[in-house]
Symmetry: C2
Subunit: 470 residues, 2 copies
């Protein structure tokens, strides 16, 4: 597979203002070719082309837009080079990437089916009544319509399913909105391959040029220019709270504010209630360890906080968690910058007075393989509440185990949580009855509440809520 | 009816930090009693009480919440004192207020029916599949839940239907959200009467105290404090673009941003196409004159801009509009501040080089009766495009008639419009066929597009879109 490294603006390619290369995190080797960072002119051209394409694109019949999405799905399904390149750029294992490809294809086909079915437009028709008194009643019709060009920010941690042809792009294209993707610099080659598949699918199914563009960029400039462009009408974002919030603020401050659908950093607290701890503490510890270290902790639903009330079973549970985390192997993170952020975050955690490193992988991390060390921190609730650092996401294979002195302390942690994607309660039927107040608290803090599960793993289903406070 | 003039915080009344009195705009007489402006402490108490009430209120069965709304509706329906006081405070005629009361009651009952029916929660259930490979599938359930205390800003121009027990309050209470209303200082007594009915309905139907509070205030302090209060979770607003945007900005800048559902200043442009002008120019002029002057122009959907392409029928139409507007009688505006703003806005319009006062009511306005003079302005498209003043809402019985030199100029006006609540097209079947591009443009600018109608008049129906860009 020959990669060109350029920005893709409709059916054309465009050199940028500077270049960068991807790095294979598994061996720290630089990968070819050089990728071109888009300039302000590229952003403007891509958005204008999207706007030009919009009128024609939104008028395509649902069946034809569905054919476009299905063609993207088939193109990705048939492409093995993308798996190879994604593995080189992200260090994610081939098996995982194969599964992720299946998910990506499934998402695209789910949206294709949805537009073909059509009820998503939520049509409401209230017929006229010329004889109504004192005024005749007009015919009223209301439905959802596409909003216009959408800027989408690809995530690093799902180079296929939450990236160039991920859920955000699938839903925008399904709705009839042209898309300008800001690719993630961690996997530019993977992005180029997928972008090529989309451009080819658009050509093959007769979609207007400009329905899709993709721009590269390492800094904030390309993204900020997209969000501030007057012709961009909505934003889809997956990434850190800091980056997402900056885009949200810029979007809200526009003369015409636009919606930002953002999935951002999340702690995903897990509350382990007394009955469950006594009944199946070991089993919960094993599940949690798997959830914390799965994918080297690089999931937006990674559980970063576990809390229980002090008791003999709780102490046993803490010991089991420590043992399991010590056995966990270090893993390759997606790119060096992410690993560095993990190391710095870990240092910040460890420096907080009252925070103890309760366990750390026995195997040393290999820096050349961009590895991160699975780590378990422990603290009491007072320490947690007094130190805001502990509320920030530590993206990677680490979690903080909090011991509450009482039920009140546990509920206090829940009450002071910021918004998150998920919260999990591990509890027996009796626990859940007794902790109704906790459930009521958490319902208002998170998009999704899990019972006796683990937060990692997001189903592709219209019944799945995968959003938090934004 | 004895009015107390205090803020209403749950079941208690509270004096404020300063007082003001309402004025009867029909005769400029000050009305008793003095009303108390809330202080920061009142805002905090009302919101905390709403938060305290939330847990209990949201758990009420839909039937019981419906009973609460129906009790408010019956209380308002049975109350004639509120019509009397509203007439004194707003100058709106008794017949109009009676109709508005019917609308208010209808809205409350519509929402009561909706919660009783229940499908608005949009429940989605995706059952578990323990045998799925490679991972078992969990049981997934998703539905809408109430968000928490809602701050609602009452409008001046509908003292019943868009005020204390208006559509915003009805929908928030229906959803299970406690409400803190910031009353409009133009009709504080009307507000107190309605608030009393709500408090009594809450008591009679066993709702928790704090499910409803109402605060008075003339300046921005009370409203801004509400929007910034961490326990307020959403905002409903009806009013000016300037005021609403300030609240929107404050809400977006919070650590936890909250949604603002705002219905703000709108120009509601009317495009009169050539075929319609030739076929029924006179009829359109009559309808427009009625729409512009109805309710002394004090509707959010008042048509502030009318545009056609220069032609003999267009010139006739302009003459007819001028004749009709000259015959229109001045009317009493809601309160002196609104009339003053209209007079100042009219001066700003008239000062723009190229803008002509094409017609003005022959009857002089009576300042003592807070009257506004119906006025027709005329300009060409170039003048319009060059002067931003002409794009600002002139709230009152005035409209600007634009003559385009060509179809391109007419479409240029459409393309440069900001977002509005409505746009109207007057056109024959042939016009609509020929001006498909104009329709496509306007679809993206406004919440509601009208064909051969007039924008004033908002139906109470789930098929009615009554929102604009916010």
């Amino acid at each position: 597979m020959q990669l060109h490294g350029f920005n893709i603006i409709g059916t054309e390619i465009s050199p940028g203002v500077s270049t960068f290369r991807a790095v294979n995190p598994s061996n720290s080797q630089t990968l070819e070719p050089a990728f071109h960072e888009a300039g302000a002119g590229d952003v403007d051209r891509a958005v204008r082309l999207a706007e030009d394409a919009f009128a024609g694109f939104r008028r395509q019949s649902p069946g034809r837009r569905a054919a476009f999405l299905n063609a993207i799905a088939s193109g990705i399904e048939a492409n093995d080079a993308v798996l190879q390149r994604a593995n080189e750029e992200t260090g994610l294992p081939p098996e995982r990437l194969k599964m992720e490809r299946g998910r990506t294809v499934g998402q695209l086909r789910m949206f294709a089916k949805l537009i073909d079915e059509g009820s998503w437009v939520d049509a409401r028709i209230d017929p006229a009544d010329a004889g109504r008194k004192p005024f005749p009643k007009p015919d009223l019709r209301r439905m959802l319509i596409p909003i216009g060009p959408v800027a989408i920010f690809a995530a690093s941690n799902f180079p296929l399913a939450f990236s160039v042809a991920g859920g955000d792009a699938a839903s925008a294209l399904a709705a009839g909105c042209p898309v300008v993707v800001k690719s993630h610099p961690g996997h530019p080659g993977t992005s180029e391959i997928v972008a090529g598949i989309i451009v080819e699918a658009a050509r093959a199914t007769g979609m207007p040029a400009g329905v899709f563009s993709m721009l590269h960029g390492r800094g904030h400039e390309v993204g900020m220019a997209l969000v501030k462009h007057p012709l961009v009408k909505a934003v889809g974002f997956t990434g850190s709270l800091r980056g997402g919030r900056a885009l949200f603020d810029a979007a809200a401050a526009r003369v015409e504010p636009i919606p930002v659908y953002a999935e951002m950093g999340s702690i995903n607290p897990v509350f382990v209630l007394p009955g469950a701890l006594a009944e199946r503490g070991r089993q919960i510890a094993e599940g949690l360890k798997a959830s914390v270290t799965m994918g080297v902790g690089q999931f937006c639903t990674n559980p970063g906080l576990v809390i229980g009330i002090d008791s003999e079973p709780a102490r046993q549970f803490a010991g089991q968690m420590a043992g399991l985390m010590a056995e966990a192997a270090p893993g390759t993170m997606l790119y060096p910058g992410l690993r560095d952020a993990y190391v710095q975050g870990a240092e910040r955690f460890a420096k907080v007075p009252g925070v103890k490193v309760a366990a750390q992988s026995r195997t040393p991390a290999d820096a050349n393989k961009t590895q991160a060390t699975p780590t378990l921190y422990a603290a009491d609730v007072r320490t947690y509440l007094a130190n805001h650092t502990l509320r920030e996401e530590l993206f990677g294979p680490a979690t903080l185990l909090l011991t509450a002195g009482s039920r009140e302390e546990l509920e206090q942690v829940a009450a002071t949580l910021d918004g998150h994607l998920t919260a999990t309660i591990q509890g027996t039927a009796k626990d859940l009855e007794e902790y109704r107040g906790l459930i009521a608290l958490l319902e208002r803090k998170v998009g999704r509440l899990l019972f006796n599960g683990f937060p990692t793993g997001v189903e592709v289903s219209s019944a799945m809520q995968h959003g938090g406070p934004y």
